[in-house]
């Protein structure tokens, strides 16, 4: 059984300026002990998807489709009772999720108390052990400090300690390292990998960085303008990317090993989701587009477990022509 199943999830936001289709029939599953990355550019619906799973979308959102946690449907009530227990999350800016009025030790202890019914004293002892486990140096002293006294990396470690205190089945990490320096980002991602291996928690890792996906994900969903463009294991996606958007993104990222003569550039910008183009939403920017792209391309399984939503995929046919 999967830790998480998302089945044709659609999200619309009702705004003053009309209805915005932020997520359109997105499906994926994550097994225990695996990391699924959702990757894509700003506004493609990554966070909306995460918030829908957590039941934390704004009031103007309308959600369709099914979400199951360990097989059980996640109704709004189920979400409320699962959050902070089977269902944990960490966000980009830990400062906003930590309570400034309590020490970080108290906040980890509180999570443990809720989850395991420990006495306040035992909970604090366990909290310090958790802080050590997420490699906060001098944990007993740090436990007595407030969030603003810690560095960004250390705060994110506290968030991870709180998230893992409840032994969640699923951890959603929305850009957990985007605000951090690169050497600290590497530490935090390595820590998440290690804890996932030890606890068997399933992880949904949201990122805009394909390098992070390559190093830390087992499976990948590439999103563009609210839809799944491509979905595969990380190994397959990087070995044989199929969707033009994935291919463009891979070519747009500069490389460390050599200077490219020119970066691939996906011309134009992402569409306005209040008024998306008909058919394939990538068509206005796609160098492979043909007339048939005016009809929405279905997500097709091109090879076992490898899906792409492009009428022209596999593109090898285009190359051969």
């Amino acid at each position: 059984m999967n830790a998480l199943d998302v089945d044709r999830l659609s999200i619309q936001f009702h705004t003053d300026r009309g209805v915005l289709q932020a997520v359109d029939r997105v499906s994926f599953s994550v097994a225990a002990g695996r990391t699924l990355a959702i990757v894509g550019e700003s506004g493609c619906g990554k966070s909306a998807t995460a918030l829908a799973i957590l039941g934390l979308l704004a009031d103007n959102a309308e959600v369709l489709g099914g979400i199951r946690l360990a097989g059980a449907p996640l109704t709004p009530e189920a979400q409320r009772s699962a959050r902070g227990r089977e269902l944990a999350m960490i966000f980009q800016e830990p400062m906003t999720s930590l309570n400034p009025a309590f020490t970080v030790g108290e906040q980890v202890a509180e999570a443990l108390r809720l989850h395991e019914g420990l006495s306040p004293r035992d909970a604090m002892a366990r909290a310090i052990a958790m802080l050590e486990r997420v490699r906060i140096p001098d944990a007993a002293r740090r436990a007595k400090q407030y969030a603003h006294q810690l560095s960004g990396g250390m705060r994110q470690r506290v968030m991870i300690a709180i998230a893992l205190a409840c032994k969640p089945k699923l951890l959603i990490a929305d850009e957990p390292t985007t605000a951090l320096d690169v050497t600290v980002q590497a530490q935090i991602l390595a820590l998440l990998d290690e804890l996932k291996r030890e606890t068997g928690t399933a992880v949904v890792l949201i990122t805009h960085d394909l390098g992070v996906v390559q190093d830390h994900a087992d499976d990948v969903v590439v999103m563009y303008a609210g839809r799944v463009a491509e979905k595969a294991s990380a190994a397959k996606l990087f070995a044989m990317p199929q969707h033009p958007y994935t291919i463009g993104l891979l070519g747009a990222a500069p490389r460390l090993d050599s200077k490219r003569a020119r970066l691939a550039s996906i011309e134009g910008t992402v569409p306005d989701l209040r008024n998306p183009p008909p058919g394939c939403r990538f068509a206005p920017r796609c160098p492979f587009a043909i007339a048939a792209c005016e009809i929405t391309p279905p997500l097709v399984e091109l090879a076992p477990g490898h899906f792409a939503a492009c009428i022209r995929a596999p593109l090898d046919v285009v190359l051969a022509a």
């Binding site: 190093d215 460390l256 090993d257 593109l315």
Partner: protein, 348 residues
């Protein structure tokens, strides 16, 4: 040619009673030279002093000590009026494309402003704005529009057009593409590369993104806690980093397998940087001398004919650096990606 020598800038801070409590040692003895028409990148993590250094290089802030020369002229000796007219030749591009344009000015007004200020192209300023917009890849008709009507990438193009308006010889870009999504970032990186080449600009790129640096820079200076720890031609720095911090920074870039040796700990505070080598608290090779004696920034023996400086006591005896992971050659992907490269030449 831009030359900074022994630049120091500390920002003092006071407690609630107004007593001096210490200083953030943002830039603490930095010397650099940027030859005409070349691109120097300044890299480092948050708080290392790179943005302060960029502002010092344009004399947007006054240094505590040090000297600043541009084409031999002593910029720190200039009187305010002379400095203002010198600014025509020295421009800054910021990270945030949403904050750097005045929302109450049309694109045309924003780009015309420096023309008026420096009395340039009188009588044909409108035509000049059109040329500048075309130069940065925007349609001249967009001149009448307002900043809020543009995406982040378009605004950054407008900010670049505005910086180019006064025909500067030196541009400092402080994280000029960091706020952009990768597909748009690639467009702007390509544009900057074209402009630097076509206009013969001297460019200082301040960035924390080593990929972007690789793509644009001729030389790279790595900063840590207010000081330069290594400076070398880009190719050498990426192939043969000598300082342990440079190596750690390169190893931490995602996309290399994630199994490389990671640095422990956080960056110390620039208020009280560690004694000796400032990196010693995180350095896997630190020994007693590193805790006491600051290592000088010196030329590497083996870098024959090229200037390659590093500040590490053990730079000649460190084990060889772990090479950057090379992407496997992928002919299929390269051919598919060539469809995304304008005026593509067949790569097959």
């Amino acid at each position: 040619m831009l030359e900074l020598d022994a630049m120091v800038k500390h920002f003092p801070f006071r407690d609630s009673l107004g007593r001096a409590r210490g200083a953030v040692r943002a830039v603490d003895g930095v010397s650099l030279a940027v030859p005409k028409g070349s691109v120097l990148a300044i890299v480092g993590e948050s708080g290392c002093g790179k943005s302060t250094l960029g502002r010092l290089a344009l004399r947007l802030i006054e240094p505590d000590s040090g000297s600043l020369r541009f084409d031999g002229e002593d910029i720190l000796a200039l009187k305010p009026a002379a400095l203002r007219s010198k600014r025509r030749e020295m421009q800054l591009i910021f990270q945030d494309p949403f904050a750097s344009l005045d929302p109450r000015m049309t694109v045309e007004a924003a780009i015309t402003e420096p023309l008026i200020l420096h009395k340039l192209h009188r009588g044909r300023q409108r035509a000049r704005v059109a040329e500048l917009l075309e130069r940065v890849g925007l349609r001249p008709e967009l001149a009448r529009r307002w900043p809020h009507e543009f995406s982040g990438g378009q605004r950054q193009r407008i900010a670049i057009a505005r910086a180019l308006a006064s025909e500067p010889r030196l541009i400092i870009g402080d994280e000029p593409v960091s706020a952009l999504d990768v597909s748009v970032q690639a467009q702007v990186v390509n544009l900057l590369g074209d402009l630097i080449r076509d206009l013969g600009l001297t460019f200082v790129l301040i960035s924390h993104d080593l990929g972007v640096v690789r793509q644009i820079a001729d030389r790279v200076a790595v900063m840590y806690l207010g000081q330069i720890v290594e400076e070398a031609p880009a190719e050498k720095l990426f192939r043969n980093p000598r300082h342990p911090y440079t190596r750690a920074l390169l190893a931490a870039v995602p996309g290399q397998g994630g199994a490389l040796k990671l640095l422990e700990g956080d960056i110390p505070s620039p208020i009280a940087p560690p004694a000796g080598c400032r990196f010693h608290t995180r350095c896997p090779y630190a020994e007693a001398i590193c805790r006491e004696v600051p290592p000088p920034l010196v030329q590497a023996q083996e870098a024959a004919g090229q200037i390659h400086l590093a500040a590490c006591h053990f730079q000649d005896t460190l084990p060889p650096a772990t090479p950057i992971r090379e992407a496997a050659a992928d002919a299929r992907l390269a051919r598919l990606q060539s469809f995304f490269i304008p005026n593509r030449e067949p790569t097959a």
